[in-house]
């Protein structure tokens, strides 16, 4: 009997665990370890953040789902990996600390045959002074953060209805943030709701971002065939912002947030500040801080994890200039090069380098979006790792399935306002996610499969995806036929 432990129950970890359970016989054990008791369909947090959904509508408890499907669930956080075991334990194990109320703080050593690290990111609000909930800005990264953002936003609307003028600042709270797509979705939804509440004339809405140009989204932007031209995504994003009366500040590293004031450095090296009444600024991500020890209990964290805290996998981590980046640098099997029974999926794997061109201010501050690794690619990576592990348990000597972000595409629907008749969303497809300039020399992507358009149809699809993916995540009948 083999035991597979999955650390994390986000999109990638949950997908991995579900497929492992489906494909492995009952002789084998699947254990999920997550510090939170709930699953969160994160893409819909945007609608929670503007008051359209309640936090409870984007989460559900994991324990009953896992119980029903024969997955062992431990509500705990992983603290340390022992991939060689130790003197007292021949098998590799992971040290857990329970977060469940009646076992809070208790530690457990959980042995494994295979381990999938799907711990996702640490929301590194501490990287920017004053950033984040409980300090001076809001977030939509979790359902509870989005709930707080919603309460604050709705209070602003009430004050505006009494005649107050407000300035909304939305974007990235650090020069190395990722998930610019989420900030984009939030600002256009916020602007849409201001109109729906009849207070748009009292609002100034400003986007601040570490992107070199709007529409970069951490993917180096995309090119689309539209209107007789091949056009960069910058044009479409700027167009939407201009149409909606949203101002923007790009190439910005937010250094500090004070009550009602954000300080930022530009790529040109200037230091500026901007006032606000409400700020939703995303944090940069880092690894969750797992440590690793060898059999003699010597610290091997630097061998297993990159300095960012994300886990090293089968990527090419050799430092090289932008011009030398290749699509082959990106991992495909997500197996640790140090331990064959260790995989990292979703945000937990260390990317070899950004996708967007790296840039640094004259003061030496890097202002470059980190690469996105969320949504569809995360789930596909989780599924590929699960398939490889199943095959390796059956006797394969190496991973059998791959999901390189430089080989797979993604479909993405970014909400731009939620209403069944007047709402819109940007429906995008990219192929591949990471540009491959060897296969597609001009733009790095196949323009037959890289598309985008804004319209009501996109909003209908977004609604459909919300319900479909929550259904799938609940592992209801037929869940496995719904594609990632």
């Amino acid at each position: 009997m083999a035991r597979v432990v999955v650390l994390g129950a986000g999109i990638s970890g949950h997908t991995s665990a579900a497929f492992l359970r489906k494909w492995l016989g009952k002789d084998h054990e699947v254990v999920v370890v997550s510090p939170l008791p709930t699953y969160n369909w994160i893409p819909s947090n945007i609608w929670v953040g503007v008051g359209l959904l309640k936090p409870a509508q984007v989460v559900f408890p994991l324990a009953p789902v896992y119980r029903k499907h024969g997955i062992d669930f431990r509500q705990a956080r992983a603290v340390a990996l022992y991939p060689e075991g130790d003197d007292a334990h021949a098998q590799p194990f992971v040290e857990l600390e329970y977060t469940l109320d009646n076992k809070k703080g208790q530690r457990e050593l959980l042995s494994y045959d295979f381990l999938v690290n799907a711990t996702g990111p640490k929301l590194n609000f501490g990287a920017t002074e004053g950033l984040g909930p409980g300090k001076h800005s809001l977030s939509v990264c979790t359902a509870s953060h989005a709930g707080e953002a919603s309460d604050f936003f709705l209070r602003q609307i009430q004050e505006m209805k009494q005649g107050a003028r407000k300035r909304f600042l939305v974007g990235t709270g650090h020069g190395l943030c990722t998930c610019e797509g989420a900030a984009f979705e939030y600002i256009v939804n916020l602007e849409f709701e201001l109109r729906a509440h009849g207070v748009r004339d009292k609002a100034e809405v400003i986007y601040i971002s570490n992107e070199y140009e709007l529409g970069d989204f951490g993917m180096g932007g995309i090119h689309l065939r539209r209107g007789g031209y091949i056009t960069p995504s910058k044009i479409f994003t700027e167009s939407l912002y201009a149409e909606r009366g949203i101002d923007w500040i790009t190439r910005a590293h937010v250094q500090k947030v004070e009550p009602g004031r954000a300080f930022y450095e530009t790529l040109e090296g200037e230091e500026k500040e901007i006032t606000f009444d409400m700020a939703m600024l995303l944090p940069p991500f880092s690894g969750v801080g797992l440590t690793a020890f060898d059999r003699k209990k010597e610290d091997i964290t630097a061998k297993v994890f990159a300095p960012s805290g994300f886990m090293r996998v089968d990527a090419d981590y050799q430092q090289k200039p932008y011009e030398a980046w290749r699509s082959a640098d990106w991992p495909s099997s997500y197996q640790s090069p140090a331990y064959r029974n260790l995989f990292a999926v979703g945000i937990a794997f260390a990317p070899p380098h950004p996708v967007s061109r790296p840039r640094t201010s004259p003061r030496g501050t890097p202002i470059t979006p980190a690469p996105p690794r969320t949504g569809m690619p995360s789930a596909m990576i989780g599924k590929a790792a699960a398939r490889s592990i199943v095959d390796m348990i059956a006797g394969a000597d190496k991973p059998t399935h791959t999901a390189s972000m430089a080989r797979v595409g993604a479909a993405c629907v970014a909400s731009a306002g939620a209403n069944p008749f007047t709402g819109t969303a940007a429906s995008m497809t990219v192929f591949p996610i990471v540009p491959d300039f060897e296969r597609y020399p001009e733009y790095g992507r196949d323009l037959n499969f890289t598309t985008g358009e804004i319209g009501l149809a996109g909003h209908w699809i977004k609604i459909l995806l919300h319900h479909m993916f929550l259904y799938k995540a609940r592992l209801r009948p037929g869940w496995a036929v719904i594609p990632e």
Partner: protein, 61 residues
Amino acid sequence: MSEPNKQFTSMERAQMRASFYATKPTGTTIFLRTFLPWQVWRFLRINLRMFSILYRSHRQL
């Protein structure tokens, strides 16, 4: 629903705003974005396109 605000700005002159230099959609483009018959067609077309991406990507797994 009120219209997007085109007046309220921290800057005095429209030309000083980055949005002044941005491409903007025509009335027809904006109309088609929420014109039901057109959007029903786009719904079908986008879904087909997304399924083709899903098929192409899942073939790699």
